[in-house]
Symmetry: C3
Subunit: 147 residues, 3 copies
């Protein structure tokens, strides 16, 4: 078979793999309450707009602080959360950023109990290039159960 792969196709293929790997690590860090490493996956002045919080969180320090609070809440509950992304649509922009829109699920498992789907969400990110990979500059999450 003749290979007629263009440079742009190669670039997209690599970008898509890199972004998947980026999100996998980011979600695993979040679920493990690794506050600082997780905050490093955002830009210094990132905006994190999620319906669970009363107002958007801005900046790495506030992001990390928020994860530490989650860790305390969940330590007492005996519940584990797992954040999954899927149906990732990644679109490279002419300014070098990547806009993504994906679905996000949260699974909740009580110790000794039955797991369940806790949240179904849509996540829209602006990713910017960073040394060794990507960082989130802006995140907007909406929940399917909220009007």
């Amino acid at each position: 078979m003749t290979v007629t792969t263009t440079a742009a196709e190669v670039e997209f293929g690599l970008l898509y793999a890199e972004v998947q790997q980026f999100y996998s690590r980011q979600m695993q860090l979040f679920d493990s309450f690794e506050a600082e490493p997780w905050a490093q996956t955002f830009t210094e002045d990132a905006v994190f707009d999620v319906p669970t919080l009363p107002a958007p969180v801005v900046g790495r320090a506030a992001l990390a602080s928020n994860v530490r609070r989650n860790a305390e809440v969940h330590a007492g509950s005996g519940e584990l959360l797992r954040h999954w992304l899927g149906m990732l649509d990644a679109r490279q922009q002419s300014d070098g950023t990547v806009h993504t829109r994906s679905y996000a699920l949260v699974y909740l498992t009580p110790r000794g109990g039955e797991p369940r789907v806790h949240r179904v969400c849509v996540m829209e990110d602006v990713l910017v290039p960073a040394p060794g990979g990507w960082q989130v500059a802006h995140r907007l999450v909406t929940r399917d159960d909220l009007p």
Copy 2:
């Protein structure tokens, strides 16, 4: 480490990323009831064989019409559906088509209510090359709950 990547490996890597991106956009269009853009992800005479419908749907016009009907039904229900694919097995054929077999989940979330897994399915597609990407020529979906 010496890189000994072959052209065939490069081609597979790009194909796999492209097909994932294709499905992500297609499912997002479907869940947003974007009837015409969604129908354009199929060939003009595509066959769409799913257990929810009494007979296979054939052709883009019928596919788009079906999505518009879904939109009306769901507008009244206050429920959101999200279609996810996973465990994508993509195999390039010697005729240039790609045969895929993947798992498909449907999550359902009532407004103000708890989300749940609504359907667990297996999806088998024949994809054909199209300008700028891929199109589905044939889709067969089976549901795990049906005998």
Copy 3:
């Protein structure tokens, strides 16, 4: 846009796609109770350490035997299981192996009944290169519901 893709980036992109494809086939074989082809996705002396079994299973013969036992149990139950991986973090090691950490879900669907999330797990694998792809040399699975 100037393409400045390095060989290492190309290699990572292909690796990530290959590993996703590998897991998709492996999980589909498992859910279809294809004991021998599934066992071939492990090394001859692979260690399979999962909380469902009283002790780690070692070697292909024992792995295949275990799948045949699952097939018998489920034939009578009328339930279908689907194993999904997600949030795949794949890290190539200097010795040529790939260490992966991913989330694993098991969906269970009774015939004629409602599907549900049965298990939420974390899966850690050591993959080794094999002719035509990869094999699992070591797998450790932990369940979120178990202490």
